[in-house]
Symmetry: C2
Subunit: 183 residues, 2 copies
């Protein structure tokens, strides 16, 4: 999409002048190469989630985020996780997760149980129906992942992509909540 920065080559100069006289420090504008990479990245970041959502929505009436919640629970011991832990693993806020889990609970895919050890906490548990739904949905999702991303790239590019995203996540996810498990 198009974005942002890449316009205003004219504005660039003016903006920096303004900035220099104000509180902002000078900011180096992006080179053409950097600009193309930047625009490409934000375009992908805009379009990819929408595609994943629409595929999952169509096939299983699930958001990509719903899917991730089910997926995280599916590999947890007892298929159970505390809300806070689940929120970290899905990099969601607690309110968001709470709403989502409530909807999933209504559909019978997840159940909420008070945590025995800590009366404040809630455990989310993947039901058999939730597990079956996930199992039924996974192949289509993987297929989409292949069609849109993996199979479009060379093996070398896949490796590059892993290195690049890994570097970016050190900034985007400093606490490293997401990838801890996968290292």
């Amino acid at each position: 999409m198009t974005t942002s920065t890449h316009d205003v080559p004219a504005a660039a100069g003016r903006a920096c002048d303004v900035a220099a006289s104000g509180e902002q420090q000078d900011v180096a504008w992006l080179t053409p190469d950097q600009l193309r990479a930047w625009i490409g990245l934000i375009s992908v970041a805009e379009l990819l989630p929408a595609r994943l959502d629409s595929q999952l929505q169509r096939d299983a009436d699930l958001t990509h985020f719903d899917y991730q919640v089910l997926a995280m629970l599916s590999e947890a011991p007892e298929r159970t996780l505390r809300m806070t832990g689940l929120a970290q693993r899905t990099s969601a806020t607690l309110p968001r997760l709470s709403h989502v889990v409530k909807r999933l609970e209504v559909r019978g895919l997840v159940e909420r149980l008070p945590c025995p050890g800590d009366a404040r906490a809630t455990n989310a548990h993947l039901t058999d129906l939730g597990w079956d739904t996930l199992v039924r949905t996974a192949p289509g999702h993987v297929r989409t992942a292949r069609e849109l991303v993996i199979d479009v790239l060379t093996d070398e590019q896949v490796a590059q992509l892993e290195a690049i995203t890994s570097a970016l996540l050190t900034r985007l996810d400093p606490e490293d909540r997401l990838l801890r498990r996968n290292r």
Copy 2:
């Protein structure tokens, strides 16, 4: 984030069995390397837009999408674009754009004019206030782009990223509405 597929190594087998007996064809599961790249990509795609939004929201009360709309208009001839053209360049649906432009118009950043040539069409025009806002906002946005992405990568990785995103967009944006101008 986290996602999806990367769970259910157990489910993988089951899912594919199910699939084989159903309408789905077999889907090759992802290799560990592919999985890491995939999870990395969707994590970035989830976190990056949120960061851009929050920076722009803080500094100028703009969505990243708002910013893109202003940016697109800023480089158009007469700083004017028809709604449809603007929608394509921002890869937005027309209803979404219509809502956004309405809000921007209320704030005086954009104005809507009937198109002289075609009575059905509407022209969106960037006002002076909109231009000034954009110019004032651009440096901070570029700085964010550098901090989160560009300056985190080597020059070589930036080049790789450009190639990778370019390949992905052939699938994600087949009509190539976004990048036409940037080639």
